[in-house]
């Protein structure tokens, strides 16, 4: 006996209008990276108007000093067309909210479960005290980078780059707030975790001043791409990873803290996204047919300068990591060597490719 044919859903007319018009049922004003445009491309490209794209006749409104709406001189980097760059992860608002809201829910669920099972009481004493005194200090670091990135979004020279910067800034702000919220959640179980005291240390304690100076320095730069490169190529791989991963994520598990790894795990997942799109942006700049060499020079100069500044901060950061209570996963110097290796790997996008026959 043969099995019945499964029902097939049929559409007599998949869309309104004439069938011959169906080839026009897409956004055809840009060239997609692949054969078919992605949803990300369709929802992002050309929402920022540019004389580089479709606007003819120049900018219609000017700043008091004569700049147009967007100025190619807003960064020292030059590329043929900023609208050609794509975020490899194709992040836009809907997946952003899905992921960020999930991170928020995971933290709440982790706190509720830990409290329910009495896990906060089983953390080591040293770690409890460390959380009370130091958990929120990296929040100031994240907040400082948030501030610098926010200002880089307006002058950015394409909607695709702007999207990445704004979403990264939103992640930074949430990451900063997550630590404060966790501190508040911990207080009924482990006692006061003063944000004010952490703030005082951030503002006054000598060990933290190089880190504070570093993030303040990023916001003191006019060039929006320099802010992005300084943050994502030089500071985050070194200082961010040291503070988040080596100071909080890894030792938290060893000290019986089940929530910090959830919070920092989400922050590090977001860092993986940044670690993917920033080298892609670097590659885009240094492979530009006309300006690649110039861009490589500028980027090399920036990374050398910012690496030096980040190193000064990370020296202080190592002292902070040394204060993390035992059992630590490994010595602070070892952790520092790893983040340096990762930074160098990330910056290898800047190196000139060997031409092979």
């Amino acid at each position: 006996m043969s099995t019945p044919t499964p029902p097939v859903k049929r559409f007599e007319q998949p869309s309104a209008g004439r069938a011959e018009d169906d080839a026009r049922r897409g956004f055809l004003y840009f060239t997609p990276k692949k054969r078919r445009p992605s949803l990300y491309e369709e929802l992002t490209i050309d929402t920022q108007i540019s004389t580089e794209r479709h606007l003819q006749g120049g900018w219609l409104v000017a700043f008091e000093d004569g700049r147009g709406s967007h100025s190619l001189g807003s960064t020292a980097l030059r590329v043929a067309d900023w609208f050609e760059w794509r975020d490899p992860a194709e992040l836009w608002e809907r997946p952003f909210y899905q992921q960020a809201a999930q991170a928020a829910r995971e933290q709440d669920a982790a706190v509720a479960a830990a409290r329910s099972e009495g896990l906060f009481a089983r953390m080591t004493d040293g770690w409890r005290q460390f959380l009370q005194s130091s958990l929120q200090l990296p929040a100031f670091y994240e907040h400082g980078l948030w501030r610098a990135l926010c200002g880089a979004a307006r002058p950015a020279l394409s909607d695709l780059v702007t999207h990445a910067i704004v979403l990264e800034a939103a992640m930074k702000q949430r990451q900063a707030q997550d630590l404060v919220v966790y501190a508040m959640d911990l207080e009924p179980d482990i006692g006061e975790c003063s944000t004010e005291a952490a703030r005082t240390r951030w503002l006054e304690e000598p060990a933290w001043q190089p880190v504070r100076a570093l993030v303040e320095r990023v916001a003191s730069v006019h060039d929006w791409m320099e802010r992005v490169i300084a943050t994502n190529l030089c500071i985050e791989p070194l200082v961010g990873n040291l503070l988040r991963r080596e100071m909080l994520l890894v030792p938290a598990s060893a000290n019986g803290d089940p929530v910090t790894p959830v919070i920092i795990g989400n922050a590090q997942r977001e860092w993986l996204w940044v670690r993917e799109w920033t080298p892609e942006l670097v590659r885009f700049c240094v492979e530009d047919e006309d300006f690649g060499d110039h861009n490589r020079d500028v980027l090399t100069e920036w990374t050398q300068s910012w690496n030096a500044e980040a190193e000064a901060a990370v020296d202080a950061g190592v002292e902070v990591v040394k204060a993390v209570p035992a059992p630590r996963a490994r010595p602070a110097r070892e952790a520092l060597e790893q983040v340096r290796r990762e930074r160098d790997q990330l910056q290898s996008a800047l190196q000139r490719k060997e031409v092979t026959a």
């Binding site: 018009d21 608002e93 907040h143 926010c150 200002g151």
Partner: protein, 568 residues
Amino acid sequence: MSTARRRSVTKTHERIGQLGWEPTHHQPATNYPTRYKFPAKAKDPMKQIMREYLPMQLEKDERVYGGFDAAVRANMGNKAEQRWLEVLKPFVHTTTYLEGCAGRVMSMLLDTVPNDELRNGYHVQFVDELRHIGMQQSLARFYTKNAPNPYGWDMGWKYYVGSPLTRAGYNMSTHSIVGDPVYCGMSMMTVLETAFTNIAFVALPDVGARNGDFTLPTTYSSAQSDEARHISNGYATLMTLLQEDANIPLIEQDLPSAWWTNHAFIDPFAGVLVEYFSKDRSDQESYLQKWDRWINDDYYKSYIEQLGKLGLNMSADAFKEARERIVTGLIHRTAIFAFAIWPLAYWRFDGLTERDFEWLEARYPGWYDEYGMLWEGFNALKDPREGALFLQGFLENASPICWSCMMQCLGDHDQLYRVVDGRTRFYCSEMCKHNDEAYPGRYTGDRQFFDRYHGWNLADVVRDIGFVREDGKTLVGQPHLDDDLPLWTLDDLEACGCEVISPNIRTAEEMGLPNGSWHDAGDPDGAVVPSERGYVQHSIGPDGLETGPGMRSNGNREGRRNVAEVIR
């Protein structure tokens, strides 16, 4: 399973508020200096926290995108009125660009305003605006795939800045991202979002629903639910500014200016959409009645007038004048001009019927006597086989295009103008004239569409702006929706022999004024005004950003910096 304890929003906000600090090692840079002074204290009245914000926005997103799925299943693209669906092309593009501007002005304020509470609110708004861009582009994508006519949507962002009708919207929106960042912020938050989103995101989607379109109300209602936060940002900014006496004269100058700039485009644009593109005539309210409810009562009387109690001496003139212009026919006159230049649009027009005439006459007694014959004329010439264009003869009598707002000068008053460097600029109103004079150098570019194409054959103009289907002959814009009538082609336009006459050049000649053209064939970015170029003396910041490869050696010292100054 245990659940998370509910946190106090106030306490949480207070704690996260401690994350901010005043930099002392390095002073923050801004690329957008302001004339305004900011006091040390300010408040974010919405107490925005990412923890509360993110799940809320996700929930709203799910509803919007679920609405698109429902619309596909309900075959809404085939059921909604096509007259309405056509005009959503310029509408959705205009609002989406505005959303982008709203986000970008937040970045300007974040870099300029030295207060962390306000900055927190601005940042949340920037993320909101990315959400609105995503939703509204998704809506455009839905119509592209499901509405009867994809032409116009398919080349949307190219066409948006090509049509003289939508370039005026681009011009208006850009005022919110170019200029003093506080001016820009007020333009966006205190005017556009506080006053006009009620019209654009509430009243107008109601008309959409009446025309069988439920995706537009779903999308824009969701956006509007964020606007409360943005309005609150605007109010908080204003209250902060008012703590410094030196800001008061600046607000008294900038707020009416921003009000007028936005009114000058949005009111005629939204009014024409509501009154001339609704097939459904069940709505008892005219645009003027909607305006009285949403703008006059809810904005002017309950918001702007109340600012007087806070020390602002706000003149009522600009608000009264805006209403008076609507009463005296701003929308009706704009409508017939927009329909007349249909080949320069990227959507299709549906001529008015007897039922439309009755609806308009009932709300504006005397309407038919004044405008009826024009509409009869439009309908008589919608068939290309007639061999004549409604536009022929129209431009010969059209009033000039305003230098500032780029809309038609439609008032009954004497034509306003001024002569700058030997050329004549026309203005639709005293406020638009003031907006040019009080902010010198603001208006640039090859901004007068008809100057650029003065003397051209209309078919060549359409070819030049590319408003032609991929068959190379059929026009994207059409004056009818009738399947029984042929579509207009470039050949039909050629046969009409219509020559474009710039109303500005013609009017200047008629009035014996100096050159009315601001187009310069030798300068693709428009005639540069030497006196205003001389006004530009300084660059941004001391770090030499404006030098480097790709920049002309003489470009940065003389003023405008844009693509024309880049050597490829």
